[in-house]
Amino acid sequence: MNGRSRGSLVLAVAAVILFGGLSIWLQAARDSMPLATSDNETLYVTERAAGRGVFTHRLLAADLYWIRAIQYFGSRSRVARVRQTDPFEPPPSLSLETPVSFDQLYSLLDISTTLDPRFNIAYRFGAIFLAAQYPEGPGRPDLAVALLKKALITSPEKWQYWHDIGFVYYWNRHEYRQASEAFQRGADLPGAPWWLRSLAATTLVRGGDRETSRLLWRQLAETAENEDARHAANIKLMQLDAIDQIERLQTVIDAVAARTKEPVTSWRVLLNAGALRAVPRDPTGEEYRLSSGRVTVSSQSSLFPLPVEPGSSPRP
């Protein structure tokens, strides 16, 4: 090794040491600047660990799990609805087939929101999926609330999650005091809309009242973050309208039955008696069904099955 060569080697080693020291200093400086993120522990893995599992592409992985959750929910819900409306399908208590399972839904949503803890739509839509009653969903409002509370760990400033928790307590669990508390907590947050506070008060005083339910769904339709959520809220509003109409029709039917002393078995009887001018239709335009003197929505209608209203016994 000649002198020049030795000199350049020494220079290279010195440069590596110098820049190595600078690199360590910069690394330490950057470590003291944490980025806005959450590091919450979950049942499966932490966000960081999950993120490293897919290197830098954890948002994409979260999207894939979200798409899987939607497809899983949609396909299961469709099968369950088809079974429910099949006239040859025996009642669940006599059926040999087990009910359609939604057991992976929460796991898929949990993984998706673990990979992307700010995946707003996965929390809000996921909670609707989880809380939906069978056959539309698994009927697990407890898991819906758990998912929304997980959202609040990352985004405690979002009143929308408290609104959704209150909604689940109101509509799915019929626990009006807790619903009111959740609405109130949302209303206390900066940027919350004025109506959330009045919703909290109304829920506490008149929980279970159909008008309160209507108000709740209307607010949800108006504040929906996408067309699907707005459509779902509008369906619920139409279902409430259908319940109103069915109650009025039932009064007419009962009156005709009392006058003729015979059960009303078809719309023709009512038309001939002059009680109705046409076969009544639900808000979607589908004809109502009349069976054994009771009015129901057709199984072909997008309003089928009608929801169990808070504060009422299950619909037959």
């Binding site: 060569s5 350049s8 080697l9 290279a12 440069a15 590596v16 820049f19 190595g20 600078l22 690199s23 360590i24 910069l26 690394q27 400086a29 950057r30 470590d31 600047m33 980025l35 806005a36 993120t37 960081r48 993120g51 490293r52 290197f55 830098t56 592409h57 954890r58 948002l59 994409l60 979260a62 999207d63 979200w66 798409i67 939607i70 497809q71 992307d116 700010r118 707003n120 739509i121 839509f125 929906a224 973050e225 996408n226 067309e227 699907d228 959520a229 707005r230």
Partner: protein, 268 residues
């Protein structure tokens, strides 16, 4: 300096002749097709998913370019025996290494710029179909300039990977270089765990070793700010500056070592 520029431009031309640009077309088509398909599947999350998909695609395509072109910078010259004619010219070996590296960086910059433009175009198109509801619900602007922060740091990350590939290729075979670079890339995402080793291990020797490794391996996870950008969270200019400075320092170390090894390599 002129020599460096000449080598860099030639390196860029060579990379273009390597049909790298075709991957861009593939990327753009993939992105456009995917964003249309996912829009139908994701309950109104097409903009978020297009951003996620677009940024991930830039990272993945960029990584392939960085590794597979990076390892060939030196080995191709040796393989084709064109290294002899190059070394016969009045060019310093260190200039050759650094010039070739700059050529590849230029290729990466052009590729990433085209991919970013494609991403913005797709987002702009999605904007024409976006409903008022979706517009109000968005966490970040559709054509968010902050996307450039994520792309910028991703570019620095790719430059680190390229320098790593170049470093290994100065003393190893192309396949081994690719494997080693990929291993460093993977380790680079886990290196932050080494920092917290003292919380799980009692041995002081292991703790010191882990901390040493933490500073030795490139911390590639710190260049990833896609989550913050997609969700409209703040990324300070100070963070950008320190992380970029860290990346450039790391690249300098790798280039000094690559140039030193290459200068001492015997091609007889």
């Amino acid at each position: 300096m002129k020599t460096l520029g000449w080598i860099a431009i030639n390196g860029f031309r060579e990379a273009v002749r390597d049909k790298v640009m075709y991957s861009l077309v593939a990327f753009a088509v993939l992105l456009i097709v995917a964003s249309y398909i996912v829009g139908e599947l994701t309950a109104g999350q097409d903009v978020k998913i297009t951003k996620d998909l677009g940024l991930s695609a830039i990272g993945i395509f960029g990584l392939f370019m960085a590794i597979f072109i990076g390892i060939g910078l030196v080995s191709k010259e040796v393989e084709r025996r064109s290294i002899y004619s190059l070394l016969a010219k009045p060019i310093r070996r260190s200039d050759l290494v650094i010039g070739k590296y700059l050529g590849l960086v230029l290729t990466l910059v052009v590729n990433v710029a085209v991919m970013t433009a494609a991403l913005y175009l797709v987002l702009a198109y999605l904007g024409t179909e976006e409903s008022d509801l979706a517009r109000q619900a968005r966490e970040a602007p559709l054509l968010d300039p902050a996307l450039l922060k994520a792309v910028g740091l991703m570019l620095v990350q790719l430059m680190v990977v390229t320098a790593t590939a170049l470093f290994f290729s100065t003393f190893s075979t192309p396949i081994l270089s690719a494997v080693l670079t990929f291993l460093v890339y993977v380790a680079g995402f886990f290196s932050a765990d080494l920092r917290n080793f003292d919380q799980v291990v009692d041995s002081r020797v292991v703790q010191a070793l882990a901390r040493g490794l933490y500073y030795m391996l490139p911390n590639l996870a710190s260049f990833d700010v896609t989550a913050q950008v997609v969700h409209g969270l703040p990324i300070t200019w100070r963070y950008m500056a320190v992380t970029t400075a860290y990346g450039l320092t790391y690249i300098t170390i790798l280039l000094v070592m690559s140039a030193t090894i290459f200068s001492r390599r015997d091609f007889k």
